[in-house]
Amino acid sequence: MEDLLEIKDLSIDAKIGNSYYNIVNNVSIKVKKGEIVSIVGESGSGKTITSLSIIRLLEKNLSIKKGEIIFEGKNLTKLSEDEIRKIRGKEISFVFQEPLTALNPVIDIETQIAEVLIKHQISDEKKAIEKTTKILERVGIPTEKSKQYPHNFSGGQRQRILIAMALIANPKLIIADEPTTALDVITQIEILNLLKEIKEEKRSIILITHNISVVANYSDYVYVMYLGEIMESGKTNEIINNPIHPYTKLLLNSIITLEKKERLKTIEGQIPSIYEIPKGCRFITRCPYKTDKCTKEPPLIKHKERYFRCWNV
């Protein structure tokens, strides 16, 4: 399959006061057509920042220091604001994490969804409304509710509305940032199954999540991120069944299963802030397997189709 998106050696800095802090470091990600690629890691790992940089929605104090983001041959980092606006929502769409804040509370949902088609001049108003009705049906929102406002809907329904909005212009790539975190089990399954259906239409999805069991069940390829770096990447079943990096191993261990356990396994400590990024391997402060070597930056090792960043494998 051909690549739809390729992020090459992306680094992003945050300017705080007069100093610059590195928050994403040398990240490379490939997304093929018709594939769900997930980025997994704890909060503070840089997943959201990396994905926002694709459609250039970074906050003003964040800037791309180096690297390229190639989408269908175009380097998105070099496009003008007008050019990127034509891609955003049309070619690449984004499902935001918080469905309540991502929707405009004073506009009915039909108008909000149809707006995408009208602004991108894909359809006239009448056609846009027709298409909106269809897409709402598709994501399981009763069409008689299309004139209602976001507060009339439950959390799961709002998430579906956001997905409808992300789908309506037929984008090639959909970035879904923790689309199920705020949802109940049943709704979570319904939304994830919907994403899977979308993928089967040969569209690509970047799924951002901290839940590695969602990754295991729904994605084709995984990037495990920690403190702004990719620790390990590979095909989902290989990463899940045979994790190489200590961080991936610990993440997999911390899933609660229905086995009798006296204590749950956890990852000791917490992710450092950007002010205290350790020298050498970024996982050094929490790694149970660390050795003297780890104070030096570990190389990116390629083994068959997998990549990982660790001295001790």
Binding site: E42, S43, V185, L264, T266
Partner: protein
């Protein structure tokens, strides 16, 4: 999984209902909570979990009866520690507040000692006492909220989705901590979560709430190993594990049944239309609201 061996009842709930206008947030809850029980309350948003907790702690009007059979101190830990800790107070003052307001302790030495013990018990370093909430991570904040509850020595601790805003590995740390607290302090815990795997780890008994009704109740091991309601079965099989499974199908039935789950139920058939939706007693302490409880598996 824990087991509660105590027989002594601490809370007796009879015909508890909470109604907002014409909508029942909770309906006909009958329950007996024992001393040292960890009652897991499982349900989706809108199922009445939080209303249940609020009614028990006396901050929600209700119909029916909630009787405490022993003079008990109740404390509440909330879902989102960022909003339950005052951002303008230092951690020390946050933990101190219930000691002054509720316990009316004036002796500075006793207060200091209690705060230091609580902060150690939840696994935090006492350096944090001089910090503000925004300087702490989510897991640390939740530990502070737990410490604030522990200083007053509660008999009953209500935990409302306390791990759901945290990363999985941090949530697991909090669950471990709560288990330690339970084993050390011999308290009663009401643990609310939409995640049935967390309940499996921490609870002795479980009730499954759906749209304000109890669909199933029983001992944790019975509910998890031998679920009787299709909804419980969906909850259990939807625990995403790293082994790939068939995707679970959620139905969309049009039904006339009084069963409130019939519209989504994979077991729905015409027989369900005659069902009066009553809770059926199956075996010791195991109750279910489904007439097909004997054959919920395919």
């Amino acid at each position: 999984m824990l087991e509660c061996l105590e027989e002594k009842e601490i809370i007796s709930i009879k015909n508890l209902s909470v109604k907002y206008n014409n909508f029942y947030a909770l309906k006909d809850i009958n329950l007996s909570i024992k001393e040292r029980e960890v009652l897991g309350v499982c349900g989706e948003s809108g199922s009445g979990k939080t209303t249940f907790c609020k009614a028990i702690s006396g901050i929600e009007r209700y119909n029916g009866e909630i009787k405490f059979l022993k003079k008990s101190k109740i404390d509440f830990i909330f879902q989102d520690p960022s909003s339950s800790l005052n951002p303008r107070m230092k951690i020390y003052d946050i933990i101190q507040e219930p000691l002054i307001v509720r316990e009316k302790i004036k002796d500075k030495k006793i207060i200091n000692e209690k705060i230091n013990n609580a902060i150690l018990e939840v696994g935090l370093n006492s350096d944090l006492l001089e910090k503000y909430p925004h300087q702490l991570s989510g897991g640390q904040k939740q530990r502070v909220a737990i410490a604030r509850s522990l200083v007053t020595q509660p008999d009953i601790l209500i935990c409302d989705e306390i791990t759901s805003s945290l990363d999985i590995s941090v949530g697991a740390q909090i669950l471990n901590l709560l288990k330690d607290i339970y084993q050390k302090r011999k308290i009663t815990i009401i643990f609310v979560s939409h995640d049935i795997s967390a309940l499996y780890y921490i609870s002795t008994d479980i009730i499954i709430l759906y749209k304000g009704l109890i669909l199933e109740e029983g001992k944790t091991k019975d509910i998890i190993k031998n679920p009787k309601h299709p909804y419980t079965n969906i909850l259990i099989s939807s625990i995403l594990t790293t082994t790939k499974k068939e995707n679970i199908k959620i139905k969309n039935n049009t039904t006339k049944s009084k069963c409130i789950f019939s519209d989504k139920c994979y077991k729905y058939s015409k027989d369900c239309d005659n069902y009066e939706n009553q809770l059926i007693d199956i075996s010791n302490d195991h109750k279910v609201r489904c007439i097909k409880y004997e054959k919920i598996f395919n």
